[in-house]
């Protein structure tokens, strides 16, 4: 049973990782937090679920979900980042929180506030791997999440645009001087973050069997804990922290109590903030020590 529980945890962590990656990409590009990313994931999941209900194959629904995520992230960028003055560092946070409210409210207006059931995929599949069993939905989740994470690494590492994103994240002034179109790189970063969030939204929906208009907030909260634990802006740290939190939550639920699930993560994050504020894997992420 432990094997199965560990697998459950990794699965949960994999979906957390995708949203956290989305957050970290934006932090890297602009030193800003996009608080509407959780809602972006939620809307993408709703779109995916609606398409699946109409009988379209999962692949189509998944593509539609990531396209929705990317599009929404661009809209949020335009509304909450592009024209918001940087003299007010929290303005973008407030604005994106506002966008989050709007996205939730629009979904409630259109589809009502009930949870929406997400149909199963590969319902017949049930792999017995000895230590644990994998259902069809779980197989889809783990494979797609892994593909997207690895894909992101390859993209950032091997392509021109990926290099440009890393460049903007390291030193925007310098890459601007080198002739890199910073605006377009930032737009691309937002799109990517939305794509990741969109994928995370639908995959989480698969794991939970449903999506609710109010899920966005939970995703945001989890992602924030992941990036604090992993280090603000650290891609690798985010992935590892997501898996740690996923496994920790699952084991807590299995062997202790569901009420302790969030509490244990809060405590872990609190300790990390006190002892190592830059996160387990972070660089010196804007940590100012003062009297």
């Amino acid at each position: 049973m432990l094997g199965q529980q560990l697998f459950n945890g990794v699965l949960l962590g994999a979906t957390f990782a995708l949203v956290a990656l989305g957050f970290n990409l934006v932090v890297g590009a602009m030193d800003r937090l996009n608080f509407a990313l959780g809602e972006t994931a939620m809307v993408s999941a709703v779109v995916g679920a609606v398409l699946m209900e109409t009988g379209l194959p999962f692949a189509v629904a998944f593509l539609a979900a990531i396209a929705t995520g990317g599009l929404l992230a661009v809209i949020v960028y335009v509304a909450s980042f592009r024209y918001v003055s940087d003299r007010f560092p929290t303005a973008s946070i407030l604005s994106s929180l506002g966008m989050g409210l709007v996205l939730t409210a629009v979904v409630v207006k259109v589809f009502g506030s009930d949870q929406r059931s997400v149909p199963d995929v590969l319902a017949g599949v049930d792999l017995d791997l000895g230590l644990f069993r994998v259902s069809g939905a779980q197989l889809v989740i783990i494979v797609l999440a892994a593909l997207m994470t690895v894909g992101l690494y390859v993209f950032l590492d091997r392509t021109v645009w990926g290099t440009a994103i890393r460049g903007v994240s390291d030193d925007p002034t310098m890459v601007a001087l080198l002739g890199v179109p910073v605006q377009r790189v930032i737009l691309l970063t937002f799109t990517l973050s939305g794509v990741l969030a969109g994928a995370a939204g639908l995959l989480t929906g698969l794991a939970y069997h449903s999506v609710s208009p109010f899920d966005g907030f939970t995703s945001t909260l989890t992602a924030l804990m992941v990036i604090v634990l992993g280090g603000l802006g650290s891609v690798t740290g985010g992935v590892i922290a997501a898996l740690v939190i996923g496994v920790l939550q699952t084991l807590t639920v299995a062997y202790l109590s569901a009420t302790l699930r969030d509490l244990i993560v809060f405590v872990l994050v609190g300790i990390v903030l006190l002892v190592r504020p830059q996160g387990l894997f972070g660089r010196n992420a804007g940590v100012l020590e003062r009297v």
């Binding site: 049973m1 949960l12 009930d114 199963d120 049930d126 939970y208 069997h209 939970t218 299995a254 569901a258």
Partner: protein, 395 residues
């Protein structure tokens, strides 16, 4: 920097402005043509939005029927609907608004326990009778007596006998309980199941917990599947219960699902969330949409014909009855329309509700107990063909 004196003046002026605006005198009854106003408290968002929509439809339908039959003593009945948006803070002003500005004789709603706690307590303080067509959490009316009522019977009173009998009938010997720990109602359900299993000699082989709304349930079901119980008791809200059912079936759990009356009253949400996995679920029930009661049956049939629904939902029938209870009392006590002597009228309605014995309406027989909760029929229901149906053979 600001010079403080001026700031204080501006602030005071702004506050005074609000006082004038917000403090407008109550409107009183409209001139001419007698009207009895009844307030309805709904919530267009939040987890119980669907139930509220059903409730409003029931109340509106009741008023339509009443007015078609000449109203009460020739005076029309009118609903004043306010929307609390699932936000307790707005309830704190909406109830006084109904009481003062709209001069309602009584209030119907909200259906959810959390909303009722605030709305009913506020109405009670203002001495306005309020009937919730659905709040069933134990102690929900603790602060709302004598003016607060609910048409639902709390689970413990309603479900124990039904579920115990079902367990004996079906010969279950082992059980697991999954509980939403972040919710007082479901925690109470879990205690109820524990008690029932103890009484019927069923061994509880596994307990799992979760916190409302945001979990995949994979972990809990893995633990339960390892214990392989005959029956899985769902101490969960209907949405969560549906997802638990799906996760359980996807992990090949064979147990029968068991729920309290609360699961049946949220039945459509449960089945919508759980799909085919919910087939065969057994739950207690206190309302039968196809009742054979001689008073209820024709009312239900007429409502089916008028609304085009095959099954009249619980909250619809409860709201219908709530409006009619108030109307009956207004008529019986011959209360004046248009908010004349409203305080006295409200007190008389309250006394009438408290004295109500075996009111028979669309939802069968209702009697209010000492604490304002209702005594209701005790039925067994089972999910068949995608909906809860009352298992008449079992009662």
């Amino acid at each position: 920097m600001l010079r403080g004196g001026r700031a204080a003046v501006v602030l005071a002026a702004a506050l005074a402005l609000t006082a004038c605006g917000g403090g407008g005198e109550p409107g009183g009854g409209e001139p001419g043509g007698g009207v009895y106003r009844i307030g309805v408290v709904t919530s267009s968002t939040g987890p119980f939005a669907a139930n509220h929509t059903t409730m409003v439809a029931g109340a509106e339908y009741a008023v339509k029927v009443l007015n078609e039959n000449g109203g009460i003593n020739g005076n029309k009945v009118e609903l004043v609907t306010v929307d609390g948006q699932n936000n307790p803070t707005s309830l704190a002003t909406l109830i006084p608004q109904l009481a003062t500005r709209d001069q309602v004789y009584a209030i119907v709603g909200p259906v959810d326990s959390a909303g009722c706690e605030i709305a009913c307590a506020t109405a009670n303080k203002l001495e306005v009778p309020i009937v919730s067509p659905g709040a069933g959490r134990p102690g929900v009316l603790a602060n709302s007596r004598p003016y607060g009522f609910t048409l639902a019977q709390p689970d413990a009173a309603n479900s124990t006998a039904v579920l115990s009998k079902a367990i004996r009938d079906l010969g279950f010997t082992t059980a697991a309980i999954i509980t939403d720990e972040a919710n007082a109602t479901t925690k109470a359900q879990a205690d109820l199941f524990t008690q029932i299993f103890a009484d019927t000699g069923v061994q509880v082989v596994q307990r799992a917990t979760f916190a409302s709304g945001d979990s995949s349930f994979a972990s809990q079901i893995t633990s339960i599947a390892a214990a392989d119980p005959d029956v899985l008791a769902l101490a969960a809200g209907p949405d969560d219960a549906g997802r638990i059912a799906r996760e359980a079936r996807s992990q090949k759990l064979r147990a029968t699902f068991l729920g309290t009356g609360a699961l049946q009253s949220g039945g459509s949400a449960y089945v919508a969330a759980g799909g085919e996995a919910t087939e065969g679920t057994i739950a207690a029930a206190q309302y039968d949409p196809h009742s054979s009661n001689p008073v209820a049956a024709p009312l239900l049939e007429k409502a089916q014909a008028d609304t085009g629904q095959a099954d009249i939902p619980l909250n619809f029938a409860y709201a219908f009855d709530a409006v009619n209870m108030v109307a009956t009392l207004i008529k019986e006590k011959n209360l004046a329309p248009d908010g004349t002597d409203i305080a006295n009228a409200r007190r008389q309605i309250q006394e009438g509700l408290n004295a109500m014995d075996r009111y028979v309406g669309m939802a069968d027989v209702t009697t209010f107990a000492e604490d304002g909760t209702a005594e209701r029929p005790q039925l067994r229901s089972v999910v068949q063909g995608g909906k809860f149906v009352i298992d008449k053979s079992a009662s």
